[in-house]
């Protein structure tokens, strides 16, 4: 008996080691692919990587900028995790960030010249952002639930609508006095900005909001009946329904929750980073959040570190055009390749396990 137990234990540790090895392998493959691209482009790979590292963690300013980028990523990725749990591919998260930013801007424009206290205006603006994101997500959710439109198509369509809406607002009704420009709407007065740490662009308030969101989502998914039912819905909609879970209602709630978090990300970008509405207000953080979600599957505990890593890549690569005359989209290549290889390796592992008969039910 003891012998058997030991063997079972051995087996599991071996499997665990294999898993870790595979993940590292995926990272190496992603680096190899990126290196090949760098070499093909005639750039020195090592110095490019060094620049990214230096740009991200080489200075206090650099690292604080990483944290600035971390916040919307945290919010978007934790939102995406809620919809992932419910088995939904909320690709519309990008548009939800944008519409959150739009609603925040609208509310602030309405209130900036009133006698209301700035703190109250900011709080209302943040809530408006959440409402905006939730509304935009609700559209995709309703289309999915009642219209039979796949959330991927609905979400993608709504992303374009949100982007077009922003442009129209910036060049139309909300244009700067004189002439509208790509630089965005008229900046809000300083008193309506979330306070930042002296000398840096980082606001402790937005950082707090991002971390709080991750913690809440983690608890929601791992410790509550709501999270369990959401996961059940995602893992097997039919079985969950038969076991008594109101599945479509849970799906809609997941959309709303994700939308609210994404909208908050948009609101933070307006109130703490840009202080106005700009055409690319989301900076692609929604798509990046989706990639993070894919990378970590359902494991909420991994949101924070992976989002930090992605933020560091993004900020670090800003150095590239300046120093090496490379385009900063290199970070995107690395991120994309990483997700691709991790997903690929995971798929290969599952296949291997099925073939080896280690995973029951695969036969």
């Amino acid at each position: 008996m003891a012998d058997l137990a030991a063997r079972v234990r051995d087996h599991f540790t071996r499997e665990r080691w294999i898993n870790i090895g595979l993940q590292i392998g995926a990272l190496v493959l992603a680096l190899v692919l990126t290196t090949v691209i760098l070499v093909a482009a005639g750039a020195p790979p090592l110095s490019a990587y060094w620049q990214i590292i230096k740009g991200a963690v080489g200075s206090v300013t650099g690292f604080s900028n990483v944290l600035v980028a971390w916040v919307p990523l945290l919010l978007a990725a934790s939102g995406v995790l809620v919809t992932f749990a419910a088995g939904l591919w909320n690709i519309g998260v990008e548009g939800q960030i944008v519409f959150g930013a739009v609603l925040t801007t609208w509310v602030m424009r309405l209130m900036q010249d009133t006698a209301m206290s700035p703190a109250l205006v900011i709080i209302i603006a943040l809530i408006a952002g959440m409402v905006g994101g939730a509304l935009w997500a609700a559209l995709a959710g309703v289309l999915k639930t009642f219209g039979g439109v796949n959330e991927i198509f609905g979400g993608l369509g709504l992303n374009y609508v949100a982007a077009a809406l922003t442009l129209w607002l910036i060049f139309g009704p909300w244009k700067r006095p004189g002439i509208g420009s790509m630089s965005g709407t008229e900046p809000f007065p300083d008193k309506l900005a979330l306070p930042t740490i002296a000398g840096l662009r980082l606001s402790p308030w937005s950082l707090g909001l991002g971390i709080l969101a991750v913690i809440i989502v983690y608890i929601l998914l791992e410790r509550t009946y709501f999270g369990l039912k959401l996961k059940a819905t995602g893992a097997s909609n039919r079985a969950a329904f038969l076991l008594g879970v109101p599945t479509w209602q849970y799906g809609l709630v997941a959309f709303l929750a994700c939308g609210a978090l994404a909208g908050l990300a948009g609101a933070v970008q307006v109130t703490a980073v840009y202080h106005r509405l700009i055409p690319s207000i989301s900076s692609g953080y929604g798509y990046l959040g989706l990639m993070i979600g894919m990378l970590i599957a359902y494991r909420a505990a991994w949101v924070a570190p992976i989002a930090l890593f992605f933020a560091a890549l993004n900020i670090g690569s800003i150095q590239l055009p300046i120093v090496l005359k490379l385009d900063s989209t290199l970070s995107g290549v690395l991120q994309g390749a990483l997700v691709l290889f991790v997903v690929l390796v995971e798929g290969a592992r599952q296949r291997y396990l099925r073939r080896a008969g280690l995973k029951p039910g695969g036969a």
Binding site: R223, T224, Y225, F226, L228, K229, K231, A232, A235, S236, R238, A239, A240, F241, L242, L243, G244, V245, P246, P360, G361, A363
Partner: protein, 506 residues
């Protein structure tokens, strides 16, 4: 074309779906392939049509051994199969459906195909609008399309799987006429059916399968009693009958009718009593599953009333039924019943009656441990459900039905379970009956139906026979009814309506 199979074997895990089948069919024959659910008919036909390879054995066409690697390969050898659900592309036009399976050219020649198919269709008495969209055709017309497609591709052996389900009487006559003409041309037809009437009417010979073996063959005139006993005969295992039925009505159906897919259920009334077990018999797809799901609120009824005690459940949704005490346990354990990836504990938590907001893992684990003990499940609270054996999955499903459930609707609760699990499961189920609950279950095992039911309903093409008193019914009588044969006059229907001659209007 002459078709021979020799010693065909196909195993799925421990299940011997085909256990050494040897069968020879001469050219120009229409052979009825008979057998109850799980007898191995479908497996054999899938092997013959290239859908799946046999584990061992030989297929000979006109005396030549062939290997059929895929359905496309099979049709190249002249074997085509008409599936119960036609394999076509509803949004596309008829002519394009014809071209899809055809050996490819880069640019399809619609004109040639249309002409060739029209030439084929004429002599067979079939007319098909080639420009119509497939989605707009009736099931019967889609069958004709598929038939013509197979013939056009050169099929000389045609396999038809339950082709008369869901088509009109006229279309059925037309289909039979076509098949006879094809047989006259020397084509071979394999006709899989459980409708004895049709087999009698159409086939020139019959092969009966049971438990993966060829039990026997017959030539006309067919004796139905002989066929039925060949299909269903088995060693009788008399066991003690457990009954806790009372005369007290718990679940009342009044003129309930329903429709799902191709199956239409005729209006039916019945009072189910407290503690009673009702068995639903019938070939798969005869309406028993639709009946069960209508009782669960999963399929909307098209007429009639459903009442549980004094509560009218008519028109309510599944979750409402569930709340009021109607529990439904689906047949597909891992697809519909349980959630792969979640543990037993998580399932127990998921089905808790009044959960709070936060999960108390420890009490969940204790509760799961208790259910595991109660239902003798071989697994731990943390075991993911997909790691359990079939029998233990079924026990888990049962353990999840909350104790207060009044009516339990079970779809094939013992399918694929070993005998020990079956007995254990029924012990647990009868405990619930003892507590005043009622059970309605479907099964393809006639012994199980006779032993555990108090009353039995037999389904054939959406029509219900019975209820029969399980104590006085025999396997043969059930076999007749399942095959759609009238058994009025045998004395068991004296108190109820005579059974209708089924199947003629599908």
């Amino acid at each position: 074309m002459e078709v021979q199979v020799k010693q065909i074997r196909k195993h799925f895990g421990p299940v011997k779906a085909n256990d050494g089948i040897t069968l020879s069919v001469p050219a120009g024959a229409i052979v009825g392939i008979l057998g109850e659910n799980g007898a191995g008919k479908s497996t054999l036909m899938k092997i013959l049509s290239g859908f799946q390879p046999a584990d061992s054995g030989e297929i000979l066409l006109d005396g030549k051994a062939v290997t059929l690697r895929s359905p496309a390969d099979a049709i190249r050898h002249g074997v085509g199969m008409l599936h119960q659900d036609p394999l076509d592309f509803p949004p596309m036009r008829v002519v394009d459906n014809l071209l899809i399976g055809a050996p490819g050219r880069l640019i399809p020649r619609r004109g040639d195909a249309a002409q060739a198919v029209a030439d084929l269709a004429g002599p067979l008495g079939l007319t098909l609008d080639l420009k119509a969209e497939v989605g707009s055709l009736t099931v019967g017309e889609r069958q004709q399309l598929e038939l013509l497609r197979l013939l056009w591709l050169g099929a000389r052996v045609l396999i038809l799987d339950e082709p008369t389900t869901g088509i009109s009487a006229t279309q059925r006559e037309q289909l039979f006429g076509t098949l006879r003409r094809l047989a006259e041309q020397g084509k071979t037809v394999l006709f899989v059916s459980h409708k004895l009437e049709e087999v009698q009417e159409l086939c020139t010979r019959v092969a009966v399968l049971r438990q993966g073996r060829l039990i026997g063959e017959a030539l006309p005139p067919f004796r139905v009693d002989k066929l039925v006993s060949m299909m269903f005969e088995r060693e009788v295992t008399p066991g003690e009958r457990l009954s806790c039925a009372t005369g007290d009505t718990l679940f009342r159906l009044t003129d309930v009718s329903a429709e799902q897919g191709r199956i239409k259920l005729d209006p039916f009334s019945m009072d189910i009593h407290r503690g009673e077990t009702i068995g639903l018999a019938g070939m798969e797809g005869s309406g028993q599953a639709v009946f069960l799901r209508s009782c669960a609120g999963l399929v909307a009824t098209t007429g009639g009333r459903i009442q549980l005690e004094d509560v009218d459940l008519t028109g309510k949704n599944y979750h409402h039924f569930k709340k009021k005490g109607v529990a439904y346990v689906p047949a597909a354990r891992l697809e519909e019943g349980l959630i792969p990836g979640l543990s037993i504990t998580e399932h127990v938590l998921l089905t808790q009656h009044k959960p709070g907001f936060f999960i108390d893992r420890e009490s969940g684990r204790k509760l799961a441990q208790q259910r595991i003990g109660d239902y003798n499940i071989k697994g731990t609270p943390a075991s993911p459900v997909e790691s359990l054996s079939g029998g233990n999955q079924q026990r888990t499903l049962l353990a999840l039905v909350r104790p207060g459930a009044k009516v339990m609707l079970l779809e094939q609760p013992t399918r694929g379970l070993d005998i020990e699990s079956v007995i254990y499961l029924w012990t647990k189920l009868k405990e619930r009956c003892n507590d005043g609950g009622s059970i309605v279950f479907t099964s393809s095992d006639l012994d199980e139906l006779l032993r555990y039911s108090d009353r039995i309903l037999v389904f054939f093409a959406g029509k219900v026979s019975g209820p029969l008193d399980a104590k006085t019914t025999t396997v043969d009588q059930l076999g007749y009814l399942i095959g759609g044969r009238d058994i009025s006059g045998t004395g068991i229907f004296d108190e109820t309506d005579p059974v209708q001659e089924g199947g003629l209007d599908g």
